[in-house]
């Protein structure tokens, strides 16, 4: 087993741990906003590590002579860019929609967004 395989295994392990923590946080947190925090940020971070593992695998196979597999790395990079652009944007849209549909954060003392929206309504 070469050191490249060890690097791939470590990246796969880190990605898996973060994706699993996202599922656990989705089950354990008390309200929509904290669940969004767990479910979106952890899966983005975990997917980055899983994609980097696949990219290293493609480059490694390319250097060993299997030249068709360099396209695996390039396409994975495009998929990674798509994840990193779309995931936080979708989370922002869900959070705003949840706040506007009247769901209050659990155990929150200060809600700045609500005060801001009331000011805008009064103007």
């Amino acid at each position: 087993m070469t050191y490249v395989e060890w690097v791939i295994y470590v990246f796969l392990g880190v990605g898996l741990v973060f994706n699993f923590l996202a599922s656990v946080g989705l089950m354990r947190f008390p309200d929509v906003y904290t669940r969004l925090h767990a479910g979106t940020k952890c899966t983005t971070f975990g997917s980055i590590f899983l994609s980097i593992a696949v990219m290293i695998y493609g480059v490694w196979k390319y250097r060993e002579g299997d030249t068709a597999l360099i396209s695996l790395s390039i396409h994975t990079f495009i998929a990674l860019v798509a994840i990193m652009l779309t995931n936080p944007t979708g989370a922002h849209a869900i959070a705003r929609a949840a706040h506007r549909s009247g769901i209050k954060p659990a155990m929150a003392v200060v809600d700045d967004l609500e005060e801001k929206e009331e000011e805008n309504d009064n103007d």
């Binding site: 969004l36 979106t40 899966t43 696949v54 994975t76 944007t89 849209a93 949840a98 549909s101």
Partner: protein
């Protein structure tokens, strides 16, 4: 198709399926509608990651192309559901 369970990519793929099952419990339980949408969004990202890993496991590039298209389409779906929850016109 015979799966080699000692292959690290296949093992990762199966564990990602377990994560999806845990997220699906939140979709079923979720007390409010945004809770279910959050669960769905998490499952979408996990499916994209699982497709990338599956493509690497069988050395097939076409699965990763499917993952790119799935990412963009699931993003549009999330935006439309959020717009609908806000009560705005589509």
């Amino acid at each position: 198709m015979i799966m080699d369970f000692t292959d690290p990519f296949i093992l990762t793929f199966l564990l990602l399926l377990v994560c999806m099952l845990v997220a699906m419990i939140r979709v079923l339980l979720g007390p409010t509608t945004p809770d279910r949408v959050v669960g769905l969004d998490t499952i979408n990202t996990l499916v994209i990651a699982a497709m990338i890993i599956y493509g690497a496991a069988f050395d097939e590039v076409i699965y990763i192309d499917v993952a790119i298209v799935y990412a963009l389409l699931s993003f549009i779906t999330t935006l439309f559901i959020a717009k609908y929850l806000e009560g705005g016109r589509l």
